[in-house]
C-alpha cells in the first residue's frame, strides 16, 4: 500500500534574482512499512524532499499525498497538527532541548495530545526503554554521549507513535560503533513496529540498512549512473 505519493513535486527558492530549484518535478511513491534511503551529493535536494514529506516546508508546485491527504494544501496550523500525528523527525545533530532532561525531551510531543500525566509517563518510559536509556531519564543532553543523545531523539520521534519517521543523516555525527547501534535500532523500529522510515544519508554503509535506496541529483531521481529514472514510481 502506497503511503506517500509525490507527483511533479517542485520546490523553488528565490535568492536575489536567482531562482534555486532544489526539487524539480520529482515523482516518488513510498510504501507503508518501507525503509527508504535517499542518497546524493550536497545540494541534490535530499533534505528538501525530507522536509516536504515531514510537513515542515511546503512545495512550490506539485502534489504530496500522504495517507490519502494532500498535505501541500493544509494550512500552517493544520499542518502542525498533522505533523504531531504522522511524523517523527530524527535530526543529524539530535536537536534536543538542552534545558530539558531526557525524560522531558521525550515527553514534548506528548504534551500536544490529550493524555493524562500518568499516560504520558508510561509512554515516555516505554520509548526510553525501547532505545535502551531507561536509566538515563533524568540526564540532561550535556550529560549524554552523542549516541545516547541520538537515542533520546529517536525515543522522542517514536513516543507519539507516528506512522512515518524521517531521519536526516542520523549517524552523520556519530562514531562507527554508535552509528551501527543506531542503524540497528532504526531497522528494528521498521521491522517490529511497522514504521515507515525515510532516511537521508551520504554513507553507503548506512544506506545498506534500508530496503530501498534512491539517488537524487539536481532535484531529480537518478539511477546509479546519474541518469534520470522513473524507478521510484510503482
Amino acid at each position: 500500500m502506497v503511503l506517500i505519493e509525490c507527483r511533479k513535486l517542485t520546490k523553488e527558492y528565490r535568492k536575489g534574482d536567482m531562482v534555486i530549484r532544489p526539487l524539480d518535478g520529482l515523482d516518488l511513491d513510498v510504501e507503508a512499512g518501507e525503509f527508504l534511503a535517499l542518497m546524493g551529493p550536497s545540494g541534490s535536494g535530499k533534505t528538501t524532499l525530507l522536509n516536504l514529506i515531514a510537513g515542515i516546508d511546503s512545495p512550490t508546485s506539485g502534489s504530496l499525498v500522504i495517507d490519502g491527504q494532500d498535505i501541500s494544501k493544509l494550512s500552517r496550523s493544520a499542518l502542525a497538527n498533522w505533523r504531531a500525528t504522522y511524523i517523527g523527525y530524527i535530526f543529524q545533530l539530535y536537536n534536543l532541548v538542552p534545558v530539558l532532561t531526557a525524560y522531558e525531551n521525550v515527553e514534548l510531543p506528548l504534551l500536544l495530545h490529550k493524555l493524562s500525566r500518568k499516560e504520558r509517563h508510561e509512554r515516555v518510559a516505554t520509548a526510553l526503554s525501547l532505545v535502551g536509556l531507561a536509566d538515563r531519564h533524568d540526564h540532561y543532553p550535556r550529560q549524554l554521549s552523542g549516541g545516547q543523545e541520538q537515542r533520546v531523539a529517536i525515543a522522542r520521534a517514536i513516543v507519539a507513535d507516528p506512522k512515518i519517521l524521517v531521519a536526516d543523516e542520523p549517524t552523520g555525527d556519530l562514531d562507527k560503533a554508535s552509528a551501527l547501534a543506531i542503524m540497528q535500532l532504526l531497522q528494528r523500529l521498521v521491522r517490529d513496529l511497522g514504521k515507515t522510515l525515510i532516511m537521508v544519508t551520504h554513507d553507503p554503509n548506512t544506506a545498506e540498512f534500508a530496503s530501498r535506496t534512491l539517488h537524487l541529483d539536481k532535484g531529480r531521481l537518478v539511477d546509479q549512473s546519474g541518469h534520470a529514472t522513473m524507478e521510484a514510481v510503482r
Binding site: 496550523s77 502542525a80 523527525y89 536537536n95 534545558v99 514534548l108
Partner: protein, 383 residues
C-alpha cells in the same frame, strides 16, 4: 492561555539564563517599586485633599498666611464667629510643627480646648494604647496618632520633645482621618504657654456649619466680620484649604507620577529586551518544537507567557518591597502642618501586579509573534 502542562517548559526557559533573568527581574522590581511608591503618594494626596475633607467644615486662617508659624489669630474671634447664623461649633486650634517645609518626618502638635477635644474629636478615635482619661488628668499630655507613634516608636507613658515642646504620651489613637493619624493632640493653653508664653493666640478656627450649601455664604460672613481688624481672616472649606496647603505637593506628586509612568515604560523595555534576546537565542529550538507539532500560535504563547512570568515576578518583588518599605517607614509627607499619609492599599498592590503582568505580556507580544511566524525549514538553514 497556556495549559499547566507547559509551565515546566516555560519555567526552565526563564531560569535558563539566570544572570539575565535576575537582572531583568531586578530592573522590573525597581521600576515597579518606584511606580507603587509614587502612586501611594498620589493616593495620599487625593485622600487628603478630596475624599477626607469634610463638606460642612470651614477653616478660618489668617489672611495671606500659609504656614502655621505665621497664621496668628486672636482666640476671642471664637465667640464672634459662633454668633454667625448657621455656625454649629467653633474649635480654636493652635498648630505647631517642628518643620514648616515639606518633609517625611514632621511632628505636628494641635492644641485644642479640652472640652472641644473630648466632645468633638475623641469620639471619632479608637484608643489603642494608654487612655483619654490620662490626657485629661495631665496638663502636658498628648494623644498621639498611630502613624506618628509608629514612625517615632512612641508608646503610652513615654515623653518626647519636638519643636521646643516636651509632652507626655497619654494615649495612642487610631482614626479614619489621616490628619489625626499623624498629629499629637495637646491642650490648647498648654501649647500656647509653652510656645509663646502667652494665651489668647491660635493658628486657625475649625468652624462646623449646619448646611453644606451655606459654606460660601458663612465663609464670606466670617471674612467680612474681620476685614477691617488688625488680623483679617481667610476662610475656606476644609477641601479648599487642604488643596491650597498641599498645592505645591500636588504639583510635585503630579510630576512624580510622570516618573512613575516612565518607570512602566522601563518595565516594558526591560521585559521586551530580555524576551527578544531569549527568542533570538532559541530560533532553532522553536523550529524543533514546531517540527514536533507545536503550532506557531502555541510557540508564540509560550514566549508571551515567559514575558508574563518575568513581569509578574519583577512586579511582585517590587510591590512587596514597596509595601514593606512604606509599612516599615510609616512615612507621612507633611507640608505647612498638613499631613499626607503614604500608604499602599490592597487595590494598589493588585493594580501593580496586574500592570506588571500586562506589561510582561505586551513585552512578549512582538517576539512571540515573530517566533510563531518563522518558517521552520528556514530556521534550520539559518542556524
Amino acid at each position: 492561555m497556556i495549559a499547566p502542562k507547559f509551565m515546566p517548559l516555560i519555567v526552565k526557559q526563564i531560569v535558563r539564563n539566570r544572570t539575565r533573568t535576575f537582572l531583568t527581574v531586578a530592573g522590573v522590581a525597581t521600576a515597579m517599586f518606584l511606580f507603587i511608591a509614587v502612586q501611594a503618594m498620589h493616593r495620599g494626596v487625593m485622600i487628603t485633599t478630596q475624599q477626607n475633607a469634610e463638606d460642612n467644615l470651614l477653616i478660618v486662617y489668617r489672611q495671606d498666611r500659609y504656614c502655621p508659624f505665621t497664621s496668628q489669630l486672636p482666640q476671642y474671634y471664637q465667640q464672634r464667629i459662633t454668633e454667625i447664623p448657621g455656625v454649629v461649633s467653633v474649635i480654636p486650634m493652635r498648630i505647631i510643627v517642628n518643620n514648616c517645609r515639606t518633609s517625611l518626618d514632621v511632628v505636628t502638635f494641635r492644641g485644642v480646648p479640652d472640652d472641644d477635644f473630648l466632645k468633638h474629636m475623641a469620639p471619632t478615635m479608637d484608643v489603642i494604647d494608654g487612655s483619654i482619661a490620662e490626657w485629661e488628668r495631665r496638663s502636658d499630655a498628648a494623644i498621639v496618632g498611630e502613624t506618628l507613634a509608629r514612625r517615632r516608636g512612641f508608646k503610652a507613658g513615654d515623653s518626647f520633645d519636638a519643636a521646643g515642646v516636651r509632652v507626655y504620651v497619654a494615649g495612642i489613637v487610631r482614626s479614619d482621618e489621616p490628619q489625626d493619624q499623624n498629629v499629637a493632640y495637646v491642650k490648647l493653653d498648654f501649647l500656647q504657654q509653652t510656645v509663646d508664653r502667652k494665651l489668647g493666640t491660635v493658628t486657625q478656627f475649625n468652624v462646623r456649619v449646619d448646611d453644606p450649601k451655606r459654606m460660601n455664604e458663612i465663609a464670606a460672613a466670617i471674612d467680612e466680620m474681620f476685614a477691617t481688624s488688625e488680623f483679617p481672616t481667610a476662610t475656606r472649606s476644609d477641601k479648599a484649604f487642604m488643596a491650597q496647603a498641599a498645592d505645591e505637593m500636588i504639583e510635585l506628586v503630579s510630576f512624580a507620577r510622570y516618573v512613575g509612568w516612565a518607570s512602566l515604560a522601563a518595565v516594558l523595555a526591560l521585559v521586551g529586551n530580555a524576551i527578544v534576546l531569549s527568542v533570538q537565542e532559541r530560533i532553532k529550538e522553536h523550529a524543533i518544537l514546531q517540527t514536533l507539532g507545536f503550532r506557531g500560535g502555541l510557540v508564540g504563547r509560550l514566549v508571551v507567557t515567559e514575558g508574563l512570568m518575568l513581569g509578574l515576578l519583577g512586579g511582585a518583588v517590587g510591590t512587596v518591597a514597596a509595601v514593606l518599605v512604606v509599612e516599615w517607614g510609616q512615612f507621612s509627607l507633611s507640608m505647612d502642618g498638613l499631613s499626607i499619609p503614604i500608604e499602599v492599599s490592597s487595590q494598589l498592590v493588585i493594580a501593580g501586579l496586574l500592570i506588571s503582568m500586562t506589561l510582561g505580556v505586551i513585552g512578549g507580544l512582538i517576539p512571540g509573534w515573530q517566533a510563531s511566524r518563522r518558517p521552520i525549514a528556514g530556521c534550520f538553514r539559518a542556524v
